[in-house]
Amino acid sequence: MPYKGNHMERLIRGASKINIQENIVYFAFVIVVIFFIFTLGDRFLSVVNILNIARQTAIISIMAVAMTFVIASGQIDLSVGSIAALSSLVVALCLRETDSLVLSVLVGLFVGTLIGATNGLLATKVGVPAFLVTLGMMGIAKGLAMWITNTMAVPIMDKDYNVIFGLGTVAGIPILLIWTAVVLIAGVFVMHQTPFGKKILAVGGNETGARYSGINVERVKMLAMCLTGAAAAFAGILYAGRMQAGRFTFGEGDELTVIAAVVLGGTNLYGGTARVVGAVVGSLLIGVINNGLIILGLSVSQQIIVRGMIVILAAALGLSARKR
């Protein structure tokens, strides 16, 4: 009997088939929040603290949105943290030299996108695995960031810049949160409403099949890498705004937090599925855990251990999702 389109029936089927594994991040988020509310009370659940968490996770969330595209296409990008550092310095230097806010931001984004494109070219045209290309690029971008100012930080005096990209608020909402929302909405839109999103998933789901379907696999992979490059550069711009300076240490270790956020969010580590909202919730989850642990009085070393455990947990979830 051929299938007859019945929307109600499909809705019911869909509702009864919510996959706990793919949506685990939402359950985990709720559980962790409840745990901290009960153990920490007002110290956790205050407006100041919640806005604090939002501010601290914003930059990771923005990179996680772009990383979702890269991972969904079956690749990985380890260079995002270093690109953020480099872009923060490029923007700070450019502001110092030109005093032009718009030009400086564009130059920062351009540098990030260019590095992303280089990653993409090496991964697709030369055929070096994305893991190795971006591992190498992580070092190169970091080294460049240290080199251009001889490891010195570059302060940013431009008040407007610092307000727009870091410290400002709109109707009481931190501007970093607004930037995150803009990137998230754009990410969801591109992933689900444009052919590019479908092509990303097709390439990650079955690369040979995608090629046989007439999709320009190399181009899709390359564009995904450009997205993470640009998003990482934007992250660097926000770091610079928040700290009112460019500095080579910004973004250190972010690549792992970002990847953990994406995979925790339900995106398959090996490509073919994408959870853009999940990635941002994953980033929030990590932020909430970090914040709660600080209030609980854990030392920095203990926090790092917990963060490492989260990465392993995320990888384990990604693996078992694949085995199904």
Partner: protein
């Protein structure tokens, strides 16, 4: 009679209500080559998977060396000396011949691998088998033919007494085939028994002692090779006319006058000097063995491979098809063989799979039109009677036949002028096969031209207006459908 090494009695196996094997007997005598013959879906691979422990029979008895022994898993099969010879899959490319042969059985000396012993034992084994390789050559540097010889050596080093070959010569050169046969004869003389699966009659008659023919999951006959000829085996494979599934029905609409595709003197890796033309609404069948160039032909037309010579003309214009993009630009579609690897993203939904080749048709101003997408997919699903829970069901959950119909829908939504089909009914149940074939016919009446490659001659005869027979890269016959008297005629031409 000599010693019976293996007896399979009354083997039956069903998959979801479909009988893949029905009460099949098969036996092996020590030191014989027993050929197993039959069309796609006849049950050959199911039978061999039971023998090698990959599947469990629903009913039947397995006797190895007169002992009733259950083969419950591949380890049991190996313990009983039964080995499948794969072409290259089970060898590790960057290890040497010696390391591969002793993989997982390395002789140890003081806690480390005894490399000297591995090399000397391998050398002795290779010499004994007359294989002209040295132990320290890396697999990655060897041709497919030599990889297969290494596989055999590996099996023998593990005391195998029964070897199963599945289409071992499909990708070998003729000198490699000679080497393989030489080795098989040597093994026979040493008492090793061999099951030899192949579609190549000449080789079967060259190497085998007995032949068993399967058809639709049943055994049709077992007989000594010397008592048979090629015609008798082909007759047994095809069965009586009344049992045939596909019949040619004359077209309601004649083939169009417009010449859509002209192929002139096309040559490639296997193909040499192939010429033909395809009219609007015509279905052209390509018959030939694996390795005859039939896949290469489709892949050249779809821009997946380069031709080394020849010309292509579409609708009277010279064209170059250097990439898939070029092919799609000329409105050509390819339904590839191996749908799981090349055709579908199994973790994605029916909807996403159907739309992926025609995203431009549901995009407006750079945005996907979800409503239109759902409409198109729902129409495809009902038109091709795809049995699925919903259009959001994951394709990997569907049966083979329905997966294949999804793949077909994916390409038909591009509304191709020329549809290329490579083994579109492989691994598909009988009902879906008939549906797919009828669908190709319906399309051709609507003016779509098609080139259909299939191993099943009955299928070609049911739908093709003309059939080209390829052998070793050359067109050996070109026959109009009404000029073809019987399936046997084509089968003989294929065998060359």
């Amino acid at each position: 009679m000599t010693h019976q090494t293996l007896e399979l009695e009354g083997m039956s196996k069903s998959f979801g209500g479909v009988k893949a094997l029905d009460d099949v007997d098969f036996d092996l005598v020590e030191g014989e080559v027993h050929a197993l013959v039959g069309g796609n879906g006849a049950g050959k691979s199911t039978l061999m998977k039971i023998l090698t422990g990959v599947y469990q029979a629903d009913a039947g008895v397995i006797k190895v060396a007169d002992k009733v022994g259950a083969i419950r898993n591949p380890t049991d099969a190996m313990k009983n000396g039964i080995r499948m010879v794969y072409q290259e899959l089970s060898l590790i490319p960057y290890l040497t011949v010696a390391e591969n042969i002793f993989l997982n059985y390395e002789p140890m000396r003081r806690g480390t691998i005894d490399k000297a012993q591995i090399v000397s034992k391998t050398k002795a084994l290779l010499d004994e088998l007359g294989i002209d390789l040295t132990p320290d050559q890396k697999i990655v540097d060897l041709s497919v033919g030599y990889c297969q010889l290494v596989e055999i050596a590996k099996a023998l080093s593990a005391q195998a007494s029964i070897l199963v070959f599945d289409e071992p010569t499909a990708s070998l050169t003729s000198s490699e085939v000679d080497k393989l046969f030489e080795l098989i004869r040597l093994l026979k003389s040493r008492g090793v028994s061999i099951v030899y699966i192949s579609h190549r009659m000449k080789e079967i008659f060259d190497i085998s002692d007995r032949i068993t023919v399967l058809k639709d999951g049943r055994k049709v006959m077992t007989a000594k090779t010397e008592d048979l000829d090629i015609g008798a085996v082909i007759d047994a494979m095809i069965g009586k006319a009344a049992e045939r599934n596909f019949e040619w029905t004359p077209r309601d609409v004649p083939v169009g006058d417009e010449v859509r595709l002209e192929v002139e003197n096309l040559s490639g890796k296997i193909l040499s000097d192939v010429s033909f033309s395809l009219n609007a609404g015509e279905v052209l069948g390509i018959a030939g063995l694996i390795g005859s160039g039939r896949t290469e032909l489709l892949e050249i037309l779809f821009g997946l491979r380069k031709a080394s010579g020849g010309r292509l003309r579409i609708k009277g214009k010279d064209v170059q098809i250097a990439s898939i993009k070029d092919a799609i630009g000329e409105n050509i579609a390819l339904v590839p063989e191996d749908r799981r690897r090349k055709g579908l993203a199994l973790i994605h939904s029916v909807k996403d799979n159907i739309l992926i080749a025609s995203l431009n048709k549901v995009t407006k101003n750079g945005l996907l039109q979800n409503k239109k997408a759902v409409e198109i997919v729902e129409q495809s699903v009902s038109e091709h009677s795809i049995k699925t829970g919903s259009i959001d069901t994951i394709v990997g959950m569907l049966s083979g036949g329905n997966q294949q119909k999804v793949l077909l829908s994916k390409w038909l939504n591009t509304h191709p002028d020329i549809l290329l089909l490579n083994e579109p009914t492989a691994g598909v149940d009988i009902a879906s096969k008939a549906e797919i074939i009828n669908f190709v016919r319906k399309l051709s009446l609507g003016g779509t031209s098609a080139i259909l490659v299939s191993s099943e001659i009955a299928e070609l005869l049911a739908v093709c207006d003309r059939i080209l027979v390829l052998n070793d890269g050359r067109v050996v016959r070109s026959l109009k459908r009404d000029a073809i008297q019987s399936e046997e005629e084509i089968q003989h031409a294929i065998q060359g």
